[in-house]
């Protein structure tokens, strides 16, 4: 009998109704909700008001759930929401939060699994949507990442030449490397075009660094060779080994001489991608830093 529901049961019932899609009458009859309170007995649990029935009062909460999820996800995935348009975006979000309801105290975590979800979802151009979502997810992560002081190019000069071979470059927290099959970056840039002149969706391999400067999230495209080298460095490969691999790669992924590596290091230092140079010891373990970025440099 509904009025005898313990507090936990009452809470499970209300949550089940709120999370169920569609009008509140259907939500009240959804399997989980109806198991706890028979749809015709809502009034045993919730009082009607002078102007609303018990079901309508529950519907006030239920009706606000999906718009709240839409708003939260759109703040992290504005490009994907715009690409899909309101109807398809709403269908995607409804399916997504049904499969992956929030399990965190913060809505910032809600969209964490959306890139993988959209790849298999019934949306137009799912492979492009997947790329776009991955890029937007990286932007969101970089926005919130911890602020770690970065090395300036003068810090690199301070490293003794003999230390470079076994040195490891430690990336700042606000750095993500994203390889895409479509030019999702250009599409994201076009969001700022008020006339909605978006580029045609087409396949094109692109290799992006997403990073932060002065608290603003930036993107820069890298060549395949630079991206592969940077990926090795970020993964903890010592500089000597990473450069040797870069010089030995095939075709476009091959670095064009050691001078090219030097130029890339200067570029990346200027972008503030590294926070420390550490010395490798016995394969994996590292000693203290050779050079570490100074807090408050920027």
């Amino acid at each position: 009998m509904a009025p005898e529901l313990a507090l936990g049961g009452l809470q499970r019932w209300l949550q089940a109704v709120i999370e169920a899609p569609g009008p509140v009458t259907r939500a009240l009859a959804s399997r989980e909700a109806a198991r706890l309170v028979r749809p015709g007995r809502t009034r045993d649990v919730v009082l009607p008001s002078a102007r609303l029935t018990a079901a309508e009062r529950v519907g006030v909460y239920q009706g606000m759930y999906l718009p709240r999820m839409l708003e939260a996800l759109e703040s992290d995935y504005p490009g994907l929401a715009h690409f899909l348009g309101p109807a398809a975006w709403r269908r995607l979000v409804r399916a997504y939060v049904s499969a992956h309801p929030s399990r965190s105290y913060t809505l910032n975590e809600l969209g964490r699994r959306l890139p993988e979800f959209v790849r298999r979802a019934r949306v137009p151009r799912p492979a492009f949507c997947h790329d776009l979502a991955r890029l937007e997810s990286a932007v969101a992560e970089v926005f919130d990442a911890a602020e770690t002081p970065s090395l300036a190019d003068t810090d690199f000069v301070a490293v003794a030449p003999g230390d470079w071979e076994r040195a490891q470059l430690v990336p700042v927290a606000a750095l993500r490397l994203v390889a895409l099959d479509h030019d999702a970056g250009a599409w994201l840039d076009s969001l700022r075009d008020e006339a909605h002149r978006h580029p045609r969706v087409q396949k094109r391999r692109s290799f992006l660094t997403v990073y932060r400067r002065n608290y603003a999230v930036m993107r820069r495209e890298q060549t395949p060779a630079a991206f592969a080298l940077l990926g090795d460095l970020v993964a903890g490969e010592p500089v000597g080994r990473a450069v040797a691999r870069a010089l030995g790669r095939r075709r476009a992924a091959r670095l064009d001489g050691a001078d090219a590596a030097f130029r890339l290091f200067r570029d990346w230092a200027a972008m503030g991608l590294f926070r420390a140079v550490e010395r490798e010891r016995s394969g994996r373990a590292t000693t203290g830093p050779v050079v570490r970025g100074a807090r408050g440099r920027r």
């Binding site: 936990g8 919730v46 909460y61 809505l107 910032n108 926005f143």
Partner: protein
């Protein structure tokens, strides 16, 4: 003065992303800011940078939406640790959240869902408030929620429940005057009775905000100025509490900073006049 000895911070507004630039550049004439705890617990980017600049100049209080004090799920220890760390980092005057639950079974609806007001719920919430206070090592301040439904099993009014909860747990109150008005409309009780019924010496802070009246019910939308009846209730409360830290909330359709500051400034006149005369001016 409240019984906790927590000082009157004056009149403030909520720290919102859209105002970050203006706040840093203009340093508005406000007494304090309220900070949404969850927005700053896991970020190391610009939001935290701005918060640190704000804290250098203004007092702040933390206000959360995910404590879920009424849930039958276990309290999240990790959440409490981060909350405590943020309170320390910002030298928060106090930490508040809502009398509600936000989810169960490990899920979060991110809404402030109503609790039934009965003896069993009172025991449950009292136990959890004590646990939170032990973890935070300070009194918890709880806000009355705006509610759109009432449970058949409730045996007491919301203000009776809050009074009993304060007595049993030692918590403080953040009295949202707009929420009192909203809930009074939705449930058909007298808002003045609510204001007169709460323990005045437990009130640490007041919220004011706008709402949306749908005719059949009112939703607490925080998307505009407060209406005259809410200001009148505020004056009635101030006559009981004396000058109390007051904050104007504006969370949707947020206007330029000056408009929010102007709305907040109205509170200054009300609270001064009411506290001086000991009446609500009615």
């Amino acid at each position: 003065m409240n019984r906790f000895g927590l000082r009157d911070l004056g009149v403030g507004i909520g720290l919102r992303t859209v105002h970050f630039g203006e706040i840093l550049a203009k340093k508005p004439a406000l007494d304090w800011f309220e900070v949404l705890s969850e927005n700053f617990m896991d970020t190391g980017g610009r939001p935290l940078h701005v918060l640190e600049r704000v804290v250098e100049r203004y007092p702040v209080a933390l206000h959360g939406v995910s404590l879920s004090i009424g849930s039958t799920d276990p309290l999240e220890r990790g959440y409490l640790q981060k909350l405590k760390a943020l309170a320390k980092r910002t030298r928060a005057a106090w930490v508040s959240d809502h009398l509600c639950f936000t989810g169960v079974l490990g899920r979060n609806t991110h809404d402030l869902l109503p609790l039934p007001y009965d003896a069993a719920t009172l025991r449950h919430v009292t136990r959890r408030v004590k646990q939170v206070q032990d973890a935070l090592e300070r009194p918890l301040v709880l806000e009355n929620p705006s509610t759109y439904l009432a449970y058949a099993r409730s045996t007491m009014t919301e203000w009776e429940f809050l009074t009993a909860l304060c007595d049993a747990s030692g918590c403080g109150l953040l009295l949202d005057v707009n929420n009192v008005y909203v809930s009074a409309f939705n449930h058909g009780f007298d808002a003045r009775q609510y204001i007169d019924g709460i323990p005045a010496d437990r009130v640490v802070q007041v919220h004011l905000a706008g709402h949306t009246n749908h005719g059949t019910h009112i939703v607490d939308t925080h998307d505009g100025p407060a209406i005259a009846q809410v200001w009148k209730l505020y004056a009635r409360l101030c006559a009981r509490t004396g000058p109390v830290s007051t904050l104007f909330e504006w969370d949707a359709k947020i206007p330029p900073l000056a408009a929010v500051v102007k709305e907040a400034a109205k509170a200054r006149a009300f609270r001064t006049a009411s506290a001086a005369t000991g009446t609500d001016g009615a």
